[in-house]
């Protein structure tokens, strides 16, 4: 509807105008009608009075049948404009005289006969019949007919006035209403404007102005309250948002920082590991180099001692013995360093075998009796009767016991050293418990902290007084760990010390990265399996023809060949098949040979696998720096390759083949049967004990 969609301003104006006009028109109309009705009544009265007067005046003429007098009387009606016709009827009801406004016109309108007195409206005319009487005697009837001219004139004039009045008052109402509607429309329009502004600019700071205390005023109040709430929330939200942004920024910075730190740490770790490896290698080499001259020193002094003894020069014998013992001491230190470096480099393997525990303990006690006697100590041994054999690395068990016992002897003066060995079951596993206690100087709580760390003797004065490198317990600790055992100490200064070692009765070989999967790892590896492992060569080359040629050539030599067309695949296959040797190309798409080599060498489980570079790139130094074993330039000298691979095969096979539990016996017994076995076995044990003694 058009009306409904009009603006509120228009609506208000229109409503006011229509209402006021309707009221005006209605009242004016009712007034008009009333006036016209009463005016008509007046006209009737007037005509009837006129009829009475005319009737009275014409009564004489009627009495005397004087037509002209009667006509003259009637013609007095000319003064009355609205009387159109008039007539006088005799007693016989016949026309006696008549009058017409327009003289010459015979009034056809005149009724032929008189009718009953009274008034009536006939065809728009007012007709009046009046009895003419004289002295109470009816003489005839007077008829008057009016065209009501005055009435219609009045009606017309009134209608005109009414129209003008309605028009003027309508205009006035428009004027007034258009002013008054502002009272209502202005605040609403203002509210609307404000709302539009808020929604367009999202500016919740604007407020609508309240003009009056009416409903609209309250509406504006409500609106403003709503706006304030929204504004508050908006501000809070914005604040939270900014805080969030700031925090996100901080977090990002933190993450970046941590990432950098992590990278630096990784780098540092690699460098440290590299340094550690280099150190271990250096120590191993150094130890070897040191031992050669030491060999000569000890050997010559022994020889000289024998000679001088034969010649009977006892003074020199003593001195020569001192040279010998100093040499042997130095040797034991070097051996300790070598052992530790081997442990650190992850090259200390386990050589597992079955052996009886009790004889081992006896042997150790015997070996150390002279050392104990030196400080006036006695050794007591208690071995549980039930104790049988254990499966472990006997050399290391021996060294553990030796270290603990010799320490006990060293730090005890005229006391007792006891060795208790028994078996216990913890967490469903069988453990052998070795306890070495003494009545010596003991260890303080602070000293205990670093007891099993390298190069940490309780304090410097101890090193001066008792000697030693401080490596003994560190090595002991590492050996115990290597066999998955535990070591602990109970002691207080002056109260002696008790070292307790738990070793699994059945040590299980570790094949993790730290120890090489060598001889000891599996007591009886299936020969097929080891062979399969031994004979695989991994060829990494992106050139299919090279892969094909290498595969054929190496297969002829009796190797199983696995080929990879890319660096990534190569590294993956290396992990999977653990080849004997890897041949590696340098120029490859995506992941080049240097990268592959770095990856292989940085993975501790793969680092041991020899890599032979086979490439057209002439950069041997780079290859060897990165850890390649050999460097061959294409086209490959096949014989040289065969020799190199064969070399690695023999090298590895010696270390991989499961060492027999008693290699001495097995090898010797093949040449000469039985009879000397037990003798050899015992002599070997004594050898080891002597070896240990000589190393200390």
């Amino acid at each position: 509807m058009i009306l409904q969609n009009l603006s509120i301003k228009r609506k208000l104006t229109l409503i006011t105008m229509l209402t006021s006009s309707a009221a005006l028109i209605l009242s004016a109309l009712s007034f008009l009608i009333y006036d016209l009705v009463s005016f008509r009544h007046l006209l009737i009265q007037d005509l009837m009075t006129q009829a009475e007067i005319i009737g009275y005046n014409s009564a004489g003429a009627m009495e005397f049948k004087d037509v002209s007098a009667a006509t003259a009387t009637l013609s007095a009606l000319t003064a009355k404009e609205d009387v159109v016709t008039a007539g006088l009827y005799g007693r016989d009801s016949k026309m006696f005289a008549h009058y017409s406004r327009n003289n010459n016109v015979i009034p056809l309108l005149l009724p032929a006969h008189s009718q009953d007195k009274g008034y009536r409206f006939e065809a728009g005319y007012l007709q009046v019949f009046h009895d003419v009487t004289l002295n109470g005697e009816r003489l005839g009837t007077l008829f008057l007919q009016s065209d009501m001219r005055q009435w219609s004139l009045r009606a017309k004039r009134y209608a005109g006035i009414l129209c003008i009045f309605v028009l003027i008052s309508g205009l006035f109402a428009l004027l007034v209403s258009s002013r008054l509607q502002r009272l209502i429309s202005r605040p609403i329009l203002h509210l609307e404007d404000t709302m539009r502004m808020v929604s367009a600019n999202r500016n919740y700071g604007v407020r609508a102005t309240k003009s009056y205390g009416d409903e609209i005023g309250r509406l504006i109040d409500g609106f403003n309250t709503m706006l304030s709430e929204i504004q508050q929330r908006d501000t809070a939200l914005r604040g939270a948002n900014e805080e969030l942004k700031a925090r996100t920024g901080e977090l990002e910075k933190e993450i970046l920082y941590r990432k950098q730190t992590q990278e630096e740490l990784l780098k540092a770790k690699h460098i440290a590991e590299e340094a550690s490896r280099a150190k271990s290698t250096f120590l191993a080499n150094m130890s070897h180099e040191l031992r050669t001259p030491l060999n000569a020193i000890i050997g010559y002094s022994e020889m000289l001692e024998e000679e001088t003894r034969e010649l009977g020069k006892s003074d020199s014998v003593q001195d020569l013995r001192k040279i010998q013992s100093a040499g042997k001491h130095l040797l034991s230190l070097i051996n300790d360093v070598l052992d530790l470096s081997k442990i650190e480099a992850g090259k200390m393997g386990l050589h597992l075998e079955n052996f009886e525990v009790a004889p081992l303990i006896d042997e150790m006690a015997t070996t150390l009796t002279p050392a104990a006697a030196k400080n006036g100590n006695t050794i007591h041994v208690h071995v549980a009767n039930t104790l049988g054999a254990m499966h472990a690395d006997v050399t290391k068990v021996r060294q553990i016991l030796f270290n603990l016992l010799s320490n006990a002897c060293k730090f005890t003066d005229h006391g007792t050293i006891s060795v208790d060995v028994d078996e216990s079951k913890v967490e469903g596993r069988d453990w052998i418990r070795f306890r070495v206690s003494d009545t010596g100087i003991g260890i303080s709580a602070k000293q205990k902290e670093n007891l099993f760390h390298e190069f940490s003797q309780a304090d410097a004065s101890i090193a001066r007084k008792y000697g030693g490198t401080g490596l003994g317990l560190a090595i002991t600790y590492r050996f115990v760990q290597l066999m998955k055992g535990r070591i602990s100490v109970e002691s207080a200064p002056g109260k002696g010390a008790t070292f307790t070692v738990y070793l699994p009765a059945q040590v299980i070989a570790e094949t993790s990265e730290t120890t090489r999967p060598m001889a000891s790892s599996d007591p009886a590896p299936s020969s097929d399996e080891s062979k399969a492992r031994k004979d695989t060569i991994l060829v990494i080359d992106d050139d299919a023809s090279v892969r094909d040629l290498m595969s054929r050539f190496l297969s002829k030599l009796g190797f199983h060949v696995v080929a990879a067309a890319s660096g990534e695949e190569g590294v993956r296959l290396a992990r999977q098949v653990r080849p004997l040797v890897i041949t590696l190309d340098v120029v490859m798409p995506e992941c080049d040979g240097w990268t592959v080599l770095k990856k292989l060498k940085s993975d501790s489980s793969l680092a041991e696998i020899p890599v032979i570079m086979v490439t057209i790139v002439d950069n041997e130094a780079m290859g060897l720096d990165l850890g390649a074993s050999n460097y061959l330039i294409k086209p490959v000298d096949r014989d040289r390759l065969a020799v190199l691979i064969e070399k690695h095969r023999t090298g590895r096979s010696a270390s991989i083949t499961g060492a027999p539990a008693t290699p001495f016996i097995s090898s010797i017994s093949s040449s000469r049967k039985g009879q000397k076995e037990s003798e050899l076995k015992s002599s070997r044990k004594v050898d080891h004990a002597k070896d240990l003694v000589s190393r200390r």
Binding site: N295, G299, E306, N335, T657, I668, R672, D691, S694
Partner: protein, 125 residues
């Protein structure tokens, strides 16, 4: 007088060990590298060989393998002398065919015992 071949590249060790062996009553011939050692073993047919492992030209394992693969020299007992006290060295020694092994620095008493054992064993069959 049993004849012992000592293959050792370090001059001092060679001198010291050969003198001590001589004092024990052995006749000693010595070689300073692997090739010479192999040649002397073949020409002199010693009763026993003391074989250092890290040797120039041809290492102890190779010489041992060669001698043990030849019909004429297979019977000669060989004691490997290694500088490293590694388990792998011991395994390598037996793998190569050595009859016994000992670690340096030499404990002379222990070594003479081993020599005696092998010489006795050789005489018995």
């Amino acid at each position: 007088m049993p004849k012992i071949l000592l293959v050792e590249d370090n001059e001092m060790n060679r001198d010291m060990l050969s003198r001590r062996l001589q004092r024990k009553g052995y006749s000693v011939i010595s070689a300073h590298d692997g090739e010479q050692g192999h040649l002397l073993a073949c020409s002199e047919m010693p009763d026993l060989i003391l074989m250092d492992i890290s040797l120039p030209l041809m290492n102890g394992w190779e010489v041992t393998r060669l001698l043990k693969s030849s019909e004429s020299t297979r019977h000669i007992p060989i004691i490997a002398l290694t500088a490293h006290a590694l388990v792998t060295d011991r395994d390598k020694a037996f793998e190569a065919g050595c009859d016994d092994y000992d670690t340096k620095p030499i404990e002379f008493g222990r070594l003479s015992e081993k020599i005696e054992n092998l010489l006795v064993a050789k005489r018995v069959p």
